[in-house]
Amino acid sequence: MTLDAPTPLAGEVAQRLRFDKAVLPNGLTVIGEHNPGAASVAAGFFVQTGSRDEQAELAGVSHFLEHMAFKGNERYTADDLNRLFDELGAQYNASTSEERTIYYGAVLPERLPRLLELLSELMRPALRQEDFDVEKKVILEEIAMYEDRPHFHVFDVSAPRFWAGHPLGNSVLGTRESISALTRDQMLAYYQRRYSPTNLVLAIVGRYDWDAVLDQAERIAGSWPTFDAPRERPPAAPATGREGVVDPKLSRVHVAYYAPGVAISDPRRFAAAVLGYVLGDATGSRLYWELVDKGLADSASLGHEAHEDQGAFVGYVSSAPERAEEVIARYVEVLRRAQDEPPTPDEWRRAQRKLATGLTLRAETPLGRLPSFGATYQSLGVYQSVAELVDRVMNARIETAVELLQARPFDSGYVFTLGPGQRA
């Protein structure tokens, strides 16, 4: 197998980066990737909690809680927080997934101390009843908004069915019913079970003073009480076959596709990611040539998603209703056939290079780099620089993909359609 060395420029940048790490006595992990050439700095609290940690009656609480964090506490009102973030000129936001809730922002380097102070206030929310009642309406609007976006909605509807009872199938948004029924006390109890410093990572990327960061982290977060915040990791038995839901309002058929993959801890995840690009990247992939190039579908994709203890190849295709059966058949056939016709060296190399370019581009800005830096460390407990990630991608072997394909994951694929049904 030939290796492409990283470009000299990438190497130079890598040499200027420094990894910093400390664990406070209460268990809060603080990590940094210092880049003296950066014009900004990004920081975020990564909380290892998400929809997979919710019981059915709590569906959507992680995401709702993420909204409530911005409503303030004894020290600051919601208006205060909004104003103070604005005064920093911070680009800031939060996101919730099945596995993680992230609160993050980016500022010019001299404003980092104030950003860290505000982010840490988000971790101690008051969860006031009146704020809870108003924000519940916002969440219900968000649910309605995603219902109008079938290319998102199809995944919300299908994930629970594919994961077949495994908590990775839990909806991040929850449902109208679960959100309407949720109480402030249930949210508080959830918060008290999940937001332990041992379950948090504070990650910083860009230009910063490490000693000052550590001093401040100790001052701000050193007194947060520690408790166990375990996560259940039951075995998964994902569904196979085909299901669907009819929605006469829709014009097109939206198809979600799933097949078993590998977990983030599995070293084969790099080969799985390259394989995903070979089969389903937006340009130049096998699915592209079979469906989009021919004008049969305006979008046909597949990628590999590595979660903590499970993984899946997840894909999407949309089509006109009258052509949906043909499109689905071709989509599935491309993937089935790949099990007997693994990637060629040319296909493999192209996918590797595209993936490497994408990794490099995302890391141009501290804010672009932060999510993967924090999440990778939180999930694996190891630091991986971008140069190292690029190396791993460029060194991923076709033989590993062949091994993955020999398990015939696409014979166990799961197809879910959301569309208008039979037209008269």
Binding site: L9, L88, E141, M145, P150, H254, R353
Partner: protein, 429 residues
């Protein structure tokens, strides 16, 4: 501020000062603009040409979109497959689209591949194959994108809003019309290619980790043999304000507003942008506070500035469930009215701080920087330095803003709603 902080600020400021776009006009009229970001291993390139829905021939709406797709399906000596493979062998990430008065081709790649990528980009516009066999799939793709709009209500709202607001050809959707797409022929679109794929009026913008000599030499070698003059961009004209409801089956009502704003690059546009940021620049801004935080009416509400050549506009958006649409629109309009009473020094300060730090942060990305340069040269005829933009934003005072608001009331907006039922009262004509 500690001495460390001061050192850091000084370093940040000098970094901005060193950022200078370099521009050259090739003999054939193609404008080449580049900003070096020598610490980056990557380069992003944006090629912008002055064709789009505004240049589509009458009755052939969608021409630009089909052409944009078709030229990427083989160029020079390479057929569609070989051309795509050649780009991907170089690890190129691709994007771009046909828009209203311009179309763009965006490529990002490692700096070491610059000389190999440029000829491929050039071939797309100088020597596109436009093979007959690739025409139908290109059109079919455009038809599907148009049909997909029915399942994307927010995008559809903005298409309807601009169609109602802009009466010049820029008001047409880049996605075209079903009739227009059906009427296209390969010969017709080939003729259009010969007319619009021309260097005069086009802009090639790059940013990233290469040096100017290399960039200019690569651009000259790849694009030097190109000839001719692209289409003229028509002047923008707008409708008298009105209200319209588009019926669609959806969970939320989409609410859109549009009104004229100062043209890009003018002193007034800098002041106006501060106003827009007071309204909607952040979570603490007026719209977010009044519509979402206090009343919980929406998940998403915003106002933003958009420009066409020589023309600026403010667009507003809110999405909410039907029973709350009236109240949402009322609160939105009340916030526009309230601007006449002026803004506070604190609001102006917060808006400016947000604008300035976002300029610096976007300046760290090669693709965002290439996009800024391309849009400057295309719309203003020159690339502003980051320093110039920053200092002009910095120089806006609360007095400037309040004087602007007192002498120029917010114009009555064009309002379009899209949703399950006609919204009563507030949008009745």
């Amino acid at each position: 501020m500690s001495s460390d902080d001061r050192a850091a600020s000084a370093e940040g400021a000098s970094a901005v000062k060193e950022r200078r776009p370099l521009t050259a006009k090739l003999d054939n009229g193609l404008m080449v603009v580049y900003e070096a970001m020598p610490w980056l291993p990557s380069v992003s390139a944006t090629l912008v040409l002055p064709f789009g829905s505004a240049s589509d021939p009458q009755g052939l709406e969608g021409t630009a979109t089909v052409l944009h797709e078709w030229v990427q399906r083989g160029a020079g000596d390479l057929d569609s497959r070989a051309f795509s493979d050649a780009l991907e062998d170089l690890g190129v990430r691709r994007g771009g689209a046909a828009n209203r008065e311009s179309s763009s081709f965006n490529l990002s790649f490692l700096a070491s591949e610059l000389e190999a990528v440029m000829p491929l980009l050039a071939d797309m516009v100088i020597r596109p194959r436009l093979d007959a066999a690739e025409f139908e799939p290109s059109r079919e793709l455009a038809v599907q994108e148009l049909e997909s709009l029915d399942d994307a209500p927010t995008q559809r709202l903005f298409d309807e809003l601009l169609a109602a607001f802009v009466t010049s050809p820029q008001g047409r959707s880049p996605l075209g019309t079903a009739e227009g797409l059906a009427a296209l022929t390969a010969e017709g679109v080939r003729a259009e290619a010969a007319r619009v794929l021309r260097p005069r009026g086009a802009v090639l913008a790059l940013a990233g980790g290469a040096d100017w000599d290399r960039v200019l030499a690569a651009a000259q070698a790849a694009f030097g043999a190109w000839e001719g003059e692209g289409p003229e961009v028509p002047a923008v004209a707008v409708a008298t304000p009105g209200r319209r409801h588009v019926e669609a089956e959806s969970s939320q009502v989409q609410i859109g507003l549009a009104f004229p704003a100062p043209p890009p690059g003018t002193d007034e546009a800098y002041v106006h942008n501060v106003v827009v940021n007071v309204l909607s620049g952040s979570s603490g801004a007026r719209l977010h506070t009044e519509v979402r935080e206090k009343r919980g009416l929406v998940y998403s509400v915003s106002a933003f500035y958009r420009s066409l050549r020589g023309f600026g506009m403010t667009l507003g958006y809110a999405g909410t469930t039907p029973e709350r649409a009236d109240e949402t629109l009322e609160v939105f309009l009340a916030e526009l009215d309230r601007l006449a009473a002026g803004v506070t020094p604190e609001e102006v300060e917060r808006a400016k701080v947000g604008m300035l730090s976002s300029l610096v942060m976007q300046g760290e990305s090669s693709s965002a920087t290439a996009g800024r340069l391309a849009s400057d040269v295309f719309n203003l005829g020159r690339a502003r330095t980051l320093e110039e933009i920053i200092s002009r934003v910095q120089s806006v005072t609360v007095e400037d803003v309040n004087e602007y608001l007192s002498t120029r009331r917010v114009p009555e907006p064009t309002i379009v709603t899209l949703g399950p039922a006609r919204v009563p009262a507030a949008v009745a004509p």
